[in-house]
Amino acid sequence: MLTIALPKGRVLEAATALFREAGLVAPESAPVADSSTGGAAKGGTWEDSRRLILEDSASGLRFLLAKPWDVPTYVEYGAADLGLAGKDVLLERGKAVAELLDLGIGRCRMVCAVPGDSGVTALTDEMLPFPFRVATKYPRITRTFLEHHGVAAEIINLQGSVEVAPLVGLADGIVDLTETGRTLRENGLRVIAEVLPVTTRLIANPVLHKAKQEEVDRLLERLEQVRAVRPGPGAGRTDLV
């Protein structure tokens, strides 16, 4: 039996769909939340369910629903054999886990953005404030990225709603994820640098991966067939940190 830690939230729906398509989850055992109905879909969904551990008897998989930021921790300690985590979380957390597969879901970009009316258009712009005050949920990645570009920065660590920080004078800019760019636009922010393309990865505890090699390989093979392959621009850049 394999235990897989799944991230609740943004990516869960796509992840469930992927596992169903791969024939790893019986359709009736895991109906997917329909986002058009605000998550309140018929038949009770994983998203709605308050249970945090779900088993699929047919495939012999056990799913553990966790906060996205906690998935690498479960896997590192071996509480879960495998997990699904975004590249952003993996780099920020820096846990010792094996990265097996890019699932191609949860695709977005991590960018550095500033208010459109600031006149700043690039990190090399001499109008860039000194030090550059950046609000982010990703202090580790942001520090490494800005150091690499020789920008003196003051990093302001926020837990969410990062886009608001420049509007209220808390920060000069932000480093955050964007999927469509809509939230950035609505808050009058302009992207001045690409930090990192982000997708969801299948991760494994390095030892349990070896110990349960055959089961993991079977799963891997099926997921490989159905994963959403579409290499994004700058796909070699994930070695940033």
């Binding site: 300690y77 071996g78 010792a96 094996a98 990265e99 349990l208 070896k210 349960k212």
Partner: protein
């Protein structure tokens, strides 16, 4: 990680408890007290370890808790990926709290024991210090027990001696189900070199293998654009046994051959982590790697060594596991959890195994209990370290086991029994 300024933690303490109350003193992050029950269990375990090492003819040594930085720099342990405790003595020399026991013992072999009879068989039990985030069964100060076999002939017998001792140690410590994987540092190095990545990417490939980041590995292996279009140096160009034709077509032909080799090597780097198991896996790997043997004879030599190690392990009564991770041969009859536990380790090759220490030059070991997601034992051959520390060139091999993790594994094993 950044520490919280003390003023903040003072006011935090005041808010959580009565203002002005004296908080209890704690130990710094990453170090801890050992209370009587654990101290007793640890002493018993260490007695078993000392006895096992002594029976095998390994004599215990102790080295100081800190060394001059040069010792660990020679071993590649103070690069930025290694976080060590550094401080200065009053003459301004940099001292490092030992992050590893092998480098100090190699230093010992290169200096005070330079004249002692070879092979040296030395054992140790001691604390090591790494300034890294506290994670998964490991504090910043942790205890290692291990052996080093230094000098004498460079032989597979030495590797086997150490492998067998590693297996016996885990068994004597009460672990019944464990596996020891054997990889080869030279195999990985040669194959990555054959891939002819530019230097920076080559490093990234090695790092991706070490961290088991197969997504990054696939990205690096797939970058066709970075393939060499011209022979890099005369030494690598003409394949043996064939004279290069004259003229411009010569360099074209050779570069095409080199590019083909590099392209194949990149494909094979990607396959490395999948090659785990016994003889059949080695044979499959050999068939795939064969086209590279002419240019990279080290590959063949590494495979030969691994085969000899497997054969020797089998002859010594160890069980080999197959590519399913099961004991070879008697598969099917035994159900997991049955009382017929193997009393010897399961041994197999893991060609994608890369240890996080750069001083390894030959076979490397990694031991673990399948149910526990932690590596308990690591080791391998390091034939250049003694020389790098000012001694004569001499072969050396050894292993270390992490005591805290070993105790954790014992607890889990007895809990599930």
């Amino acid at each position: 990680m950044r520490s919280v300024p003390s003023a903040d933690s003072d006011s935090l303490r005041h808010s959580l408890w009565d203002a002005g109350a004296t908080g209890r003193l704690q130990t710094p992050t990453g170090v801890r007290d050992v209370l009587p029950a654990e101290a007793r269990a640890r002493r018993q375990l260490e007695a078993v370890i000392r006895e096992t090492f002594a029976e095998a003819g390994y004599e215990e040594v102790e080295t100081p808790i800190c060394e001059y930085e040069e010792v660990f720099a020679a071993a590649g342990l103070v690069e930025d990926s290694w976080q060590v405790y550094r401080f200065f003595d009053r003459e301004g020399r940099t001292l490092v709290l030992r992050p590893d026991m092998t480098a100090p013992i190699a230093r010992l072999a290169a200096t005070r024991l330079a004249g002692a009879a070879r092979p040296l068989r030395l054992s140790y039990i001691g604390d090591v210090f790494r300034y890294e985030e506290v994670h998964a069964g490991r504090q910043r100060q942790f205890r290692q027990a291990g052996v080093e076999r230094i000098g004498g002939e460079r032989s597979v017998e030495a590797d086997l001696e150490v492998l067998a001792l590693a297996g016996r140690l885990l068994w004597r410590c009460g672990l019944e189900r464990f596996r020891i994987d054997v990889g080869h540092a030279q195999l990985v190095q040669e194959l990555v070199a054959a891939g002819q990545w530019p230097e920076r990417e080559g490093k990234a490939v090695r790092r991706a293998l070490r961290e088991r980041n197969y997504v990054l590995l696939a990205e690096l292996a797939g970058e066709r654009s970075a393939l060499p279009v011209e022979p890099q140096s005369p030494a690598t160009s003409p394949p043996a046994g064939r004279l290069p034709p004259a003229g411009t077509t010569a360099s074209l032909g050779t570069s095409a051959a080199t590019a083909a080799t590099a392209s194949l090597a990149r494909e094979l780097v990607l396959e490395l982590p999948r090659w785990r198991g016994g003889f059949e896996v080695l044979a499959a790997a050999r068939a795939r790697l064969e086209p590279l043997f002419v240019q990279r004879p080290g590959l063949a030599a590494a495979l030969d060594e691994l085969e000899q190690i497997l054969a020797g392990a089998k002859a010594a009564g160890m069980q080999l596991y197959d590519r399913h991770g099961d004991p070879g041969g008697d598969r099917g009859g035994s159900s997991p959890g049955s009382h017929a536990m193997p009393s010897t380790p399961l041994v197999g090759v893991d060609l994608g195994l890369v240890r996080d220490l750069s001083y390894y030059t030959g076979p490397v070991l990694e031991g673990f209990v399948p149910d526990l997601g932690l590596v308990l034992l690591t080791g391998g051959r390091y034939d250049r370290l003694v020389e790098q520390l000012g001694g004569r060139p001499e072969p050396a091999t050894g292993f270390a086991v992490g005591l805290e993790r070993l105790m954790l594994a014992r607890e889990r094993a007895s809990a599930s029994r």
